[in-house]
């Protein structure tokens, strides 16, 4: 594939996914500028990967995986928190932290803010899966790639997360079965 084709391929992914990556970062870091910087870094890595000749099976899963790792790195650097504290104590897997100022600086309507805050209150294990499924429309398989777990485990997390979210929000239009959404 020549350079122009690669640029076209990259551009398609960039135009369709850059907003999603920005949102993903914005929910976790303390300012919009930092979220924009992280988004730029994610797509720089994507471009470097494409021009290095590597084939990507699933670009969406790739960029969210990179974004997730960059956020963890960002958090460790800013907060000097030992790596062990960024791991889920039960499963040992790393999960994304959320900066305490992250949600305050997002400009959004009341309904959106209420839902973001409700999602951020979910158990860390369910939070990512629920967010990626319903806001970014990733399939359980894709979310599994991002989080490094199986699609089945993701489905379980989403279902349990939805139950928690229903209790927190009191909303009655939450999906009962994730496969119907």
């Amino acid at each position: 594939m020549n350079s122009d084709d690669l640029k076209k391929q990259f551009n398609l992914i960039y135009q369709s996914q850059s907003d999603a990556v920005l949102r993903f970062c914005l929910m976790r870091v303390s300012s919009r500028e930092e979220a924009v910087d992280l988004t730029e870094e994610v797509f720089t890595r994507l471009w470097q990967t494409l021009i290095s000749g590597k084939k990507l099976d699933n670009a969406r899963a790739f960029i969210f995986t990179v974004a997730r790792h960059l956020i963890i790195d960002w958090y460790r650097k800013k907060k000097s928190i030992p790596f062990e504290e960024l791991e889920d104590k039960e499963t040992g897997e790393a999960y994304d932290p959320v900066d305490e100022k992250a949600l305050q600086n997002i400009e959004i309507s009341a309904e959106g803010r209420f839902l973001i805050e409700a999602v951020s209150k979910l158990s860390p294990t369910y939070r990512q899966a629920v967010y990626l499924r319903f806001v970014e429309d990733l399939s359980p398989g894709e979310i599994g790639e991002v989080l490094g777990v199986s699609a089945n485990a993701v489905s379980v997390r989403i279902n349990r997360g939805v139950e928690e979210l229903r209790k927190i929000t009191g909303y009655d239009d939450l999906p009962n079965n994730i496969l119907t959404t």
Binding site: L22, F43, R45, E107, E111, G112, F114, D173
Partner: protein, 283 residues
């Protein structure tokens, strides 16, 4: 049944980059990536080089001109894509890069140039890894150059800082002149205000440059390791050593600078105390 959940999701999905942010970011990504990987082909067949020997009567003069062009600038710029171990590499690092660096005049531009060069060294290590040509001697060469860039960067930063403090000393001379001609209470307020505000702005540029260096060294090292992992499924010793060196250089410059600034802050504090005591005495 209400639709609050769907409405909330729709609202969240409205968050995004503005179109100007998107296009600016896109052009930065292409620029950065080509600076790091040097992947864009630079050579284009020149019309002039293809047709220059047509006129026989101009042959000697053109040949002579070509010798200069190819022997001089052509060789220098042709060496841009050379990697350690290539014949043109020493021309690249010993002639071409210092020459291009000499066009950077401000301390900030010089410092940024060293960061660009250090990043290039990591990109070269990446290219060698990809081609399976990174051996111990090339690793040592790259490490040595990285150390040289870090040292040069440090001295550029010192020069920047020295210039800053020179302009500060002019300010304090002004301050002394004013102290003798203005009433003491105003003086005390003024010097206290200066003491509090000056050190905050003074090193913001050098601070930004060294953070930029650290972050580029870290991301370059990560990228290098990912190339090695992709190529051989593991991080080779050579790649590991270079990545370590890069990260160390990035961390070291911040640490050393932090120590120096602490010392400097102590000196500043002492000077501030002296000025304050002086003001009190005058008062």
């Amino acid at each position: 049944m209400s639709h609050k959940f769907s409405k909330g999701i729709e609202e969240i999905k409205k968050i995004g980059l503005s179109s100007s942010e998107k296009s600016a970011m896109l052009s930065r990504i292409f620029e950065n990536a080509s600076a790091v990987t040097g992947s864009e082909p630079r050579f284009v067949k020149s019309f002039w080089l293809q047709n220059i020997f047509v006129g026989h009567q101009f042959r000697p003069a053109l040949a002579l001109a070509l010798v200069f062009v190819l022997g001089g600038s052509g060789l220098i710029f042709g060496s841009n894509q050379a990697l350690p171990g290539d014949a043109l590499y020493s021309i690249k690092v010993n002639v071409a890069e210092p020459l291009l660096g000499s066009f950077r005049f401000s301390g900030e531009a010089k410092a940024n140039w060293q960061i660009t060069l250090a990043t290039k060294r990591l990109a070269e290590a990446g290219a060698l890894t990809k081609q399976g040509r990174l051996d111990e001697s090339k690793q040592i060469k790259i490490e040595q150059l990285l150390a040289e860039h870090a040292t040069a960067l440090e001295s550029d930063l010192k020069i920047m800082e020295a210039k800053d403090s020179q302009s500060d000393s002019f300010k304090s001379e002004d301050r002394v002149v004013k102290q003798t001609s203005e009433p003491a209470p105003t003086l005390m307020m003024m010097s206290a205000a200066q003491i509090e505000t000056e050190p905050i702005n003074k090193n913001s540029k050098t601070e930004a440059i060294k953070l930029d260096f650290e972050s580029k060294m870290n991301s370059g090292a990560n990228f290098l390791e990912s190339i090695s992992n992709e190529k051989s499924g593991t991080t080779s010793n050579e790649v590991f050593n270079i990545s370590q060196k890069a990260r160390e250089s990035g961390n070291k410059i911040n640490k050393d600078w932090g120590d120096r600034n602490n010392e400097k802050d102590e000196i500043n504090d002492k000077e501030a105390d002296d000025t304050r005591n002086e003001s009190i005495r005058i008062f």
